[in-house]
Amino acid sequence: MQTNQILALFCGTLLVLGLIAFFLGRAKAARVRASGIAMYAQPDQYAWFSVLSTAGPAIAVGAVGAFVMLLAGAEIPTLYLLAASLVVGCAGLVMGIALVRPDFHARQAIERVIRFFLAGAALISIFTTFGILISIVGEAIRFFQMQSFWDFITGTTWNPGASFLEAAGRAEEGGSAAQFGSVPLFAGTFMITLVAMLVAIPVGLLSAIYMAEFAPQRVRTLAKPVLEVLAGIPTVVYGFFAAITVAPIIVDVAGFFGLDASFNNALAPGIVMGIMIIPFISSLSDDVINSVPDSMRQGSLALGMTKGETIRDVVVPAALPGIISASLLAMSRALGETMIVVMAAGMRPNLTANPLEDMTTVTVRIVAALTGDQEFASAETLSAFALGLVLFVVTLSLNLVSVIMIRRFREKYRINNL
């Protein structure tokens, strides 16, 4: 029998069993109640408890069996598994009906089961993090078994081209050996991130200052959602915009100054990415500036400072931890940004300080390594996971520092709503 059919059979039988449990349980509870004995719970609650005691163990047995088959590779015939889980379901049904007694707390039992389910759902987010860690670390370790870790960190040549020949056992034919030196990739990533931050921090911070300190209420309520639109535009759209509209403009402008710019220059994705992360900085900075206590402004103005001086010398320094936190968050966003660089930045690993040249980034190489037709076990495919590991570690540390900074700010001024 097909897995689908077995699954359908399982679900169907379980549904019938559940219905039987529901009506038997309710009927029994109603009977007991009709005989004038006080019960701890309502008949419906007893009915639901019988359903839970029927379906719960049966599903649990089925799931455990499936996992054992998947993880340990044990060969359990699916028909036996089906039969076992249904037998357990029937046993649960009998037990559930037997428990419909006046002195049984059905409501609390249901409560416990629900609590258990909710906690299980909450654990899924933990599993996700572990899933990311395990998948990345596991494959990265396989990569570092093939390639030296030291070369990966310090090498300046990224040339994975020949690795598929090595995987096929024909390393001698392919000319030069594959090299996995990640320095040019990180240089490119940081260059583009730097450009993005140079655009986003001044514009975002100044916008936040204007919205928090100068703007009339009407402008404020309008400007905030409009800025948020910038963050809501899909990155693939930004990538297209950077590649088709911004990059040619930059080439023209550079040409006007007698400079030679590549169409895949680092400026175009950097600028567009900067525009994308303006709202990350402006929104959080705005909140932070707003929560600087007014007494500080009043004190400063009372000493005869102008409004500008108050902002520059009192408000912004007080809000600095929050502003730095916002910038770090934006930076981690820029480092991990993929589509803009995939579409607008180059493919060629290039170690240079000139943003007009084409250069590639970590995320571009991850995409390139995983969209080709290589075998999964080749060093090039696995290199994506090694790069992903570094990306994970860097963004994780940035996020953590950012959280710590904002917490320090919050504790200093005793603000609860940030």
């Binding site: 987010s125 514009v203 975002g204 916008s207 300190e213 981690s332 995939v342 996971f385 994970f392």
Partner: protein, 388 residues
Amino acid sequence: MSQPFDEISAQLRRRHRKSARLKWISMGALGLAGLFLVLFFADMLVKGLPAFQQARIQVEVDYSERASQLPLAAVQENVRPLVSRGYLRLIPGRMDDNPELLGTTRMEWVLADGQVDQYLKGHHSKLRDSEQAVVDRLAAQGRAELRFNTTFFTRGDSKMPELAGIAAAAMGTVLTLLVTLAVSFPIGVMTAVYLEEFAPDNRVTQLIEININNLAAIPSILFGLLGLAIFINFFGVPRSTPVVGGLTLALMTLPVIIISTRTALRSVPDSIRHAAFGVGCSRWQVVRDHVLPLAMPGIMTGSIIGLAQAMGETAPLIIVGMVAFIPDVGGSFTEAATVLPAQIFTWAGEPDRAFIEKTSGGILVLLAVLITLNATAVVMRKKFERRW
């Protein structure tokens, strides 16, 4: 030595000027961000609006015996390069369906080649001078015109720009988002309910909270790596399908839904809970019958926003293989599919210039849907928001 008053007031004026300058500069920064937004939308509209129109030309179609063997023979030689190849290919099939067509000659409006389309829209095209002259003559006779582009909304991807459409990608997006919503909404709401209403304040709870905030900030491409290594390689979910794409996006959307649900739950005042506990409700009954219904508008708003985010996401879907070439509109969760952003990405990589227009058209559709979704969320919040 005290300073003369003039000097002091001059200094004061300077300081006030400086203060005013900060105001103007910061206003300019906000204006710059706004200006960019306007430029961006203007650029997309200019590039994308022509995609909603398509060239059609009126030619004589000769349903001869020969045309059923060799479709090219159905039209006269001088207009042959101007008619879409994809359209010509359908002629034998139509002749099989309607045998009475055989031997007749009709004037018909047919789909023009992508290059004619570009030429009529005044863009650069690869037509030869003689072909351009033919198109000009047809246009002068009223036999070549731009009409509303239904192909774009009813067909899947194609290598021929005049036949390429977003229908397959739109279908893929719907299927993928259904999976995403079916997985992330219940789990997200359950997690939030647990953390807000049930969880004891201990180490594990704090760990979960930190972890959720952290998940929200992890680069999306890493979720793609997770999807590839866990869902595809470990669990054996088929590659490129809405199921694997939807699951991957669900994990990404989860933190958004959890965070917004928690905010919504927190905004329900404690007096409601106290009253419900007071009449003897159990904790779950309080949550199910009182807190959740009151928090529902906020939860829905957050979920719509999370869904809109998932809809625009591309990077993780590329990693799990959802950039496939899908010419037919499918309807299955377990067959290869593509989504709108991935379709935009694929078209952006096409060398043919006619695809720039298609890409921008696809972007306009995507943006329109996203703006509608977000506007719905805002309206819902405005309409159902309760101040306690």
